[in-house]
């Protein structure tokens, strides 16, 4: 139980005040995966934890229909490979994103078509804004088509790295582990991809380096 610090003065006889007990501790993903080697049904807890986040991420890339298939297949692949999961990593999401990213690659044509379609559909002249919030929103909308077109033009490897970091919020190290590539490669691919996206936004791409 955690104790609240008290004054050290000897004239303070009050005992330490107990705080609320620690919240219940859920088993980590790593512990669950290890346990699922003995009890396969526990893997469904991992699905319940992470399928929503995976679906949202994958749906951005390949759309809602293909996303459902990719997510289901991701968990089946993960289930088959659970014996090789290193339980030293408590959070399995980067591992799952890595599997999903490899499966998304099978839908490369759908993905790039999706970005190009978005780019064409949303290209419109900008509208004057009345306050900063609206300006910000409009800027985001107007930048979207250019960015989507830039995403479609990236190589698969560069796009995978960029979107794992920008959309899945993985760190460089997590991205490297998810894609089984060195961290240095993550950095160089991200650098290259960001030069393209910055150029699409009209920013001097050399500013990144």
């Amino acid at each position: 139980m955690t104790l609240l610090p008290t004054h050290n003065s000897s004239d303070n006889p009050d005992p330490p005040v107990p705080l609320a007990p620690d919240p219940p501790r859920e088993p980590s993903d790593g512990a669950l995966i290890v346990a699922s080697r003995e009890r396969p049904e526990l893997f469904s807890v991992l699905f319940d934890r992470h399928s929503g986040a995976l679906y949202r991420h994958v749906s951005r890339r390949v759309g809602p229909e293909a996303a459902e298939d990719v997510v289901a297949e991701t968990f089946l692949v993960a289930f088959r490979k659970r014996g090789r999961y290193d339980p030293a990593y408590p959070v399995a999401l980067p591992w799952l994103y890595g599997i999903a990213t490899r499966l998304v690659a099978r839908h490369r044509r759908e993905e790039t078509t999706r970005y190009r379609a978005f780019s064409r559909a949303h290209t419109s002249p900008s509208v004057a804004a009345e306050d900063e919030r609206v300006v910000t929103d409009l800027t985001a909308v107007s930048a979207g088509p250019s960015l989507a077109a830039a995403l479609a033009a990236l190589s698969q490897g560069d796009r995978d790295v960029l979107l794992l970091i920008a959309w899945a919020d993985l760190t460089y190290e997590e991205t490297a582990r998810a894609l089984s590539i060195p961290v240095g490669t993550v950095r160089s691919r991200l650098n290259r991809a960001r030069r393209r996206t910055r150029a699409a936004l009209g920013v001097n791409p050399l500013e990144l380096d």
């Binding site: 512990a31 929503g52 749906s59």
Partner: protein
């Protein structure tokens, strides 16, 4: 807004919410009986979770019995394992014994909070290094290779050896450039390169001090001589914040300029990675 912010906005625009009936596959298959520490670890984690829930629902209003497992004991174990940097080898011997590095760092996905000695409690889980230390930190030992190579954790040494020598050669050249002329230098890249030089090689004390001076001279770097690393050692901290708002810190021993570790804090103030070199020692080649 910068390009990453724009990209995230685009992502939210393209995103779909998961359907309510997102189909869950059947997870059935052959089972494999666990042996050794993984079995104990899982049993402990599942038992702790099982016991804690009824404890929190204790109906009498009395203090509920708590399942307590803080990180303090594990940090204490790391502190015990650490040795005094003053006793570390001062330079990499050109022949004979190799320098062996013992380093603890936070596993991926483990987000330590800001308070020293209480790290990764949310993600605490049983792990074990080669020497059997259980805790939330991963402890690795590696050897500092001879000049021309970088150190790598044991399981990826082949990959690193194939890549890093060229990087090191570039690094040395760029450090020379940095020392002679800071004008036009990419400050973030310069900080990263000095960090890499300190992390990956053991140079003689005079060179280490020069590298520390180079760190402090990089525009944007702030120095704190009264900082502490995450196992509580007094260190000199050299901090640089990237244009994306990520704060990177390098910790050096004030007396010897030995590299003691690093910390990376996200723009949101969350510590996403931290490390501590526990020991440098000489050992015969494997």
């Amino acid at each position: 807004m910068d390009d990453m912010t724009e990209l995230r906005t685009l992502g939210r625009t393209l995103e779909h919410a998961p359907p309510s009936g997102l189909s869950r596959p059947e997870f059935t298959g052959r089972t494999r009986r666990l042996r050794g520490w993984p079995a104990l670890a899982v049993a402990a984690a599942l038992t702790a979770a099982t016991l804690t829930v009824p404890a929190l629902l204790w109906p009498t209003g009395e203090s509920a019995p708590a399942v307590s497992q803080t990180g303090d004991g594990h940090v204490a174990a790391l502190v015990e394992r650490a040795s005094d940097p003053s006793a570390w080898p001062s330079a990499d011997p050109s022949d004979g014994p190799q320098v062996v590095v013992t380093q603890a760092d936070t596993p991926d996905g483990c987000a330590p909070d800001a308070t020293p000695y209480r790290l990764c409690r949310e993600a605490a889980h049983p792990v074990a290094d080669a020497e059997g230390l259980a805790g939330w930190a991963s402890v690795t030992t590696s050897r500092l290779p001879k000049p021309g190579h970088m150190r790598c954790p044991g399981d990826s040494a082949d990959r690193c050896d194939a890549i890093e020598p060229a990087l090191l050669a570039d690094l040395v050249k760029e450090l020379r450039d940095l020392a002679s002329n800071t004008a036009g230098t990419d400050n973030a890249a310069a900080f990263r390169k000095v960090h890499l030089a300190l992390f990956s090689t053991l140079r003689e004390e005079r060179t280490r001090e020069k590298l520390a001076d180079a760190l402090a001279l990089i525009p944007g770097v702030t120095t704190d001589a009264d900082a502490h690393d995450w196992i509580g050692r007094p260190v000199t901290s050299y901090a640089f914040t990237t244009p994306d708002g990520v704060r990177q810190e390098v910790f050096l021993d004030a007396k010897t300029a030995h590299y003691l570790g690093s910390r990376e804090t996200s723009a949101q103030g969350k510590t996403v990675y931290t490390s501590a070199v526990l020991k440098l020692a000489l050992a015969d080649s494997p």
